[in-house]
């Protein structure tokens, strides 16, 4: 334990500590607290221990389908259309209340454009037609006999983090700002297998995918993506995908904007041109500062944000904390995450949880000794393709910002992937700031 007597190396300004501080035993962190410390994180002695009531009687019946503890009732999605008014509805993932890299199915974000359909899986059909030799119809039974593939990957709405397009920082928590992204293990049949069976015309370049919900939501996807890694997903984290995720089957396009991952998938038309559907023509397209407009953005680029500390998840007292967050890239694996506690003046390299999977959430962490003074926390990610997350300033130069703050529920722009900054004040409160 000789190491415990050495102060942990500070790797960047304002108290960021070497990764060793997190990897080692607690005593090492305690040792880092410096001269005069007795080697304990907190000075006060623990209360005497006694049996609690639940230790003195049998507990509840075991339910057929398990649910979280009643004490976790606040760990829920925020829903912005609870009365199911005739418009869209969104449910956001509470990143600040979760750990690890997998989003539980009930907390996975979703956006519905006209409610959730109640689809009878025995009646659901998937049609493949267009520029193919033979149009084919599949159902859930027949698909269950195909070789399935499983991959862990994130899904992110193209409009996630849209409040950060605001010219002034909008005060909201990480759930409101970044909650339209989640990560799950998806299992299904490669769409390429089914297209091969139908026999694709070599002149074809696109598919137009359509859902069985009321809007008959449709999106165009380049055939290149289909041959690469598109999946007809039927399982999410081991169970049938939930109705809010497209039960009984959805298109899963690793790393591509959420809206293209058509839920309730019922039809794939192979074409030589994009459909120029409503969502690709108007919604997931943005005006640029140079007067042009984006089109076919598709990729969710490299991004990260700190989930703890974060607004609403403040610091109680000076001492050592773990800075924890999520990084991901639609272009592949996360290669590196750097963290700053002084608004980007200096950076230290965060520890990355394994496994680091391509196009999936990677949890990063960094030990931080908060001295009780002001701090600005930031994270910045790099992916294996060498792409780096831009600063907000760099991003705004390229993509612009609003001239007045929009609603926190608004979508002024899409594909925001710049650095998020959390300002910590002397009380340990965390606010969204631009730095």
């Amino acid at each position: 334990m000789s190491k415990s007597k050495n102060p942990i190396e500070q790797v960047a300004g304002n108290g960021l500590l070497h990764r060793r501080a997190l990897l080692g035993r607690g005593i090492m962190v305690a040792g880092a607290m410096g001269a005069g410390s007795a080697g304990l994180l907190t000075g006060a002695a623990a209360e005497p221990l006694a049996d609690a009531p639940w230790s003195l009687m049998p507990g509840d019946v075991t339910p057929p389908y398990g649910r979280p503890s009643s004490f976790e009732s606040k760990v829920v999605r925020t829903v912005d259309n609870p009365k199911n008014e005739p418009s869209g509805s969104r449910a956001r993932t509470p990143h600040h209340l979760l750990r690890g890299a997998i989003t539980p199915n009930g907390l996975h974000f979703t956006i519905m454009h006209a409610g959730i359909p109640d689809i009878d899986p025995a009646e659901h059909k998937l049609l493949i037609h267009g520029m193919v030799k033979q149009p084919l119809v599949f159902d859930l039974d027949s698909l269950s006999r195909y070789r399935m593939v499983t991959r862990t990957g994130f899904l992110e709405c193209g409009g996630n983090s849209a409040p950060l397009f605001s010219n002034d920082p909008i005060q909201a928590d990480v759930q409101a700002l970044h909650g339209l992204a989640s990560c799950a293990q998806w299992t299904g049949v490669p769409l390429a297998t089914l297209l091969d069976e139908a026999g694709v015309d070599p002149k074809a370049k696109w598919i137009v995918a359509e859902g069985a919900d009321a809007p008959h939501l449709s999106r165009s996807v380049p055939l290149a993506k289909v041959w690469d890694d598109a999946m007809v997903a039927m399982y999410q984290n081991g169970e049938r995908i939930q109705p809010g995720q497209g039960y009984p089957m959805r298109l899963y396009l690793p790393g591509y904007e959420g809206n293209m991952n058509v839920k309730f998938l019922r039809r794939v038309q192979v074409t030589d041109q994009p459909g120029m559907t409503f969502f690709e023509s108007k919604i997931y397209s943005d005006p640029l500062p140079n007067g042009k407009d984006t089109q076919f953005y598709f990729v969710q680029e490299v991004k990260s944000f700190i989930s703890s500390p974060s607004p609403g998840v403040g610091l109680k007292e000076p001492g050592v904390y773990e800075i924890s967050g999520i990084a991901y890239s639609g272009n592949g694996r996360i290669d590196k995450v750097m963290v700053s506690a002084d608004g980007g003046k200096s950076w230290g390299e965060a520890a990355l949880d394994e496994p680091r999977l391509p196009k999936a959430f990677t949890r990063f962490s960094m030990a931080w000794r908060w001295d009780g003074g002001p701090a600005v926390l930031q994270s910045r990610a790099w992916d294996e393709g060498g792409n780096s997350q831009p600063s907000r300033e760099q991003f705004v130069a390229r993509r612009g910002q609003t001239t007045k703050p929009p609603s926190v529920l608004g979508f002024p722009g899409h594909h925001f992937n710049a650095v998020t900054s959390w300002g910590v004040n002397a009380k340990g409160e965390v606010k969204h700031v631009y730095a």
């Binding site: 037609h129 149009p135 359509e210 559907t277």
Partner: protein, 174 residues
């Protein structure tokens, strides 16, 4: 990797590929176009798959009043749902994307209205009603003349002002 290893690896990939194909259960049931006509509703920007039928703005105004005005405003100015008529000359991150200043193809109007509208009862409009609504919206937005008929021949020829203003972000992915 040596050439020999490369050759072995390539052979393995080929063998696996062929095996995967051969082992596919091939359970897709053939279906003829007439049997999926009810689902075959994609309209492509070149106008392919536009159905027979036609409509003019005057008829569309009536359908709009009955089916659309409640959410989109009696003059299409927007309300609970998006503005469909008029608006700023140029969209920005503060908003203002409109049919006239943004949508690249007029065919998208037909495709989207027919598949998704009216909100409480999608697929309830006849093709003539959809053509009439499209004519009404294009005419009110000064993109076609008031008396112009919209049909499978005329609609794809409507030139949308913003068509050439788009920049494909990652052309290598298409």
């Amino acid at each position: 990797m040596s050439m020999r290893k490369l050759a072995i690896a390539a052979g393995l990939v080929l063998a696996l590929g062929a095996a995967a194909l051969a082992e596919s259960p091939r359970l897709g049931k053939p279906i003829s176009p007439k049997d999926f006509a009810a689902w075959d509703i994609n309209i492509l920007p070149d106008g392919s798959n536009l159905p027979p039928g036609s409509g003019k703005a005057a008829d569309g105004a009536k359908v709009f009043g009955e089916q659309c005005a409640l959410c989109h405003g009696d003059k299409g100015q927007g309300g609970r749902a998006a503005r469909l008529i008029g608006g700023p000359p140029k969209a920005s991150l503060d908003g203002g994307k409109t049919i006239a200043n943004y949508w690249p193809y007029a065919t998208t109007l037909f495709d989207f209205i027919r598949r998704a509208m009216p909100f409480p009862a999608p697929r309830s409009l006849s093709d003539d009603q959809v053509y009439a609504l499209v004519a009404f919206l294009l005419s009110e937005n000064k993109l076609i003349g008031e008396g112009e008929e919209m049909n499978a021949q005329t609609l794809p020829k409507v030139r949308m002002p913003n068509r050439d203003n788009f920049v494909v972000q990652f052309p290598d992915r298409i």
